[in-house]
Symmetry: C2
Subunit: 203 residues, 2 copies
């Protein structure tokens, strides 16, 4: 099984612009990518990065400047069984990824918050992705159309893609890799307001 | 194992006040409670409701008007192995709950978003809860203090407590019970704005 990690090299994590400067978003995104690659390697698999432009990374990379959906579908056109794992799953552990990789099903989906699909395994030759909007429901529909069986991986760690400020609290609470270290070094910490967890930053 | 579902009967789901009127919030909270009780029963266990005031529900109930933490700790004072499952886990399935109930560990924690603890199993006689703020981290600390082993249940379904408008999209996407039906009947549907999933309401 090939494991592919798409990465938007140009202007990553724009929804974090209120919390992080542009260079910081780039550094943080790279830290998350490194954590995801490490977690995949710890399952015994060799990840490849599918990046919008060449980056300095210790992994095989394919450059495709197109948006996510056509770039991933070009991979699915050429490869057999393929796993697609998003680069911002800073909470991903080898155990959570192993559940994804080893689940039976022509298509295995790890839903993300807000209708997304944060990771998947495609074993059916006709399965193609559509990441826009309600991609989880779209992927269910696509699988049904081609007669592919579907398994769902129910994982908070895989459901948590980090792209809003509130998600940083998840990294500080449940992360244990470079992304969490980066946030701590940048002065972020957990805070509690009205009994709810948030992040605050010391500058 | 006793399975206890705490329920705030008075003024439920105040964070949904922008989306739902008071009576609607009460109805919706009751629909979610019903779904949680059904999912627990489908694992072969008999749930009991720990409610702040008497409600009309088809399950044994204990009334305790105190806040969540002392009310749950009063249960833990008296019972042996006990599971505590929040009443707003509208995505909970029997499979997700079975993973919780059957995980080995003196304390089993199912983290919620934003530092919460959405479900747990307490098998250690000295374990007590503290639901305020970063309860997940507090529960890890409490377990460490008493020398209790801890297991984590990594479940998106159990991590998703429904208390903000954004969470309604999760119910519409992944739910299949009375809470989802209630939202559909109330005119809610998924909508996509800027490639992101949201809910909108037709009145």
């Amino acid at each position: 099984m090939q494991v592919v990690v798409p990465f938007a090299a140009g202007e990553p994590k724009t929804r974090l612009a209120d919390a992080l400067a542009r260079d910081e978003r780039r550094e943080f995104a790279r830290a998350m990518l490194g954590d995801v690659l490490s977690a995949i390697r710890a399952t015994g698999r060799v990840p490849a990065v599918l990046t919008t432009s060449r980056i300095d990374v210790d992994a095989p990379q394919t450059v495709d400047s197109r948006p996510l959906t056509p770039a991933v579908n070009a991979v699915l056109d050429e490869e057999g069984t393929t796993a697609i794992v998003m680069a911002d799953l800073a909470l991903a552990t080898p155990a959570a990824l192993e559940r994804l990789f080893s689940s039976a099903g022509d298509v295995v989906l790890a839903p993300g918050r807000r209708g997304g699909t944060n990771a998947l395994v495609a074993r059916h030759p006709e399965f193609r992705v559509d990441y826009h909007g309600t991609s989880y429901l779209d992927h269910l529909r696509i699988a049904r159309t081609i007669g592919a069986s579907v398994a769902e991986v129910d994982s908070h760690r895989l459901a948590t893609d980090v792209d809003e400020i509130a998600d940083l609290a998840e990294v500080l609470t449940h992360g244990d890799g470079a992304a969490r270290d980066w946030l701590l070094d940048a002065g972020f910490s957990l805070s509690v307001t009205d009994g709810r967890v948030d992040v605050s930053r010391e500058r």
